[in-house]
Symmetry: C2
Subunit: 170 residues, 2 copies
Amino acid sequence: MASRDHDWFVGEMGLAFESDGFTRIGGRLFGHLLLADRPLSLDELADALGASKASVSTDARRLLDKGVVERSGRPGDRRDYWKIAPDFFASLMQHRVERWRRLDALVGELKRRAPVSSPAVRARLRYMEDVYAYIAGRVDEALESWQARRAVKPRRPRAAAKTRKRGRAA
Amino acid sequence: MASRDHDWFVGEMGLAFESDGFTRIGGRLFGHLLLADRPLSLDELADALGASKASVSTDARRLLDKGVVERSGRPGDRRDYWKIAPDFFASLMQHRVERWRRLDALVGELKRRAPVSSPAVRARLRYMEDVYAYIAGRVDEALESWQARRAVKPRRPRAAAKTRKRGRAA
DNA sequence: CTGTACGTTCAGTGCATACTGAACGCAGTA
DNA sequence: TACTGCGTTCAGTATGCACTGAACGTACAG
């Protein structure tokens, strides 16, 4: 590990994620976990990425909220161990659709507030709502059929993973 | 125009786009054009958005590259007139898939550079390539079927719109 | 030629935020 | 009790980049 190619990959992932609304460290964290053959602790990650524990802790929890990484523990060990979520791509995808939904919601809210007079604009807003509804539906279908397709470990329906405050440092 | 609701919508669009890798002015530009019932000139846009011509010019061309807005001219008028692209949603979508393609390309490049030893990691990278190929294909299908579905103006196949330098200020 | 009306480019500035080090809280151990 | 190891939080820093005003290049009018 820590080969030249490994570092290159992690660095590129950092840049790719950074230009995508994540932080650079978050992206490198993702890249490093993607190439790790076992779950890693916070200290291991901070050390490997050359970043502070504070940054890794924050970014890891951010990725956890998005369903990109997972946290696990070991009996007799108080440390957290992080790994890539098995369905991280689907999570990223759903997160993306969620962003579009926000645009759609803005249009809906505008129409509720003030009816649009211009027919051209009305048609445009209508188009936006229609295409969103259609594409979002198709994307969901695609994700579902993918899940069914690979049909490896029977994955549970993912109980809405909100940020659950830990006992510590409340 | 310039109503309270209009400004609210434009402002929200600015924030939504900003948190999505665009600039705030780019988002407001998009929002304003979305509600405009005719193409607008650079000066009109700069004035309406309360931004400098420089920013609007730059952001408008950026959105042009992404296929979100279009530029048009009028005979006997040297000004550019900007409007929302009819298929802006599809353009945004394709731009998004393109971002994922970059991640996929990184994985491919890594495998080319240095074969991965760990079976678990190999399976993970394989998963990433598979799901990308599958989902990207399905998204393309969805976009095509949408285009066919609405079937309004017969749109030409969109000759790859690279940034074409204008004659001016070369 | 000069003057005007465009859009683009460029250097400088300010702001937002990623990142850090250190303080902190908690849980376990002795 | 005190001590160690863990993750989180918080205040401060600095780094990137969005944004601006002004200079610039071009095209047309006279």
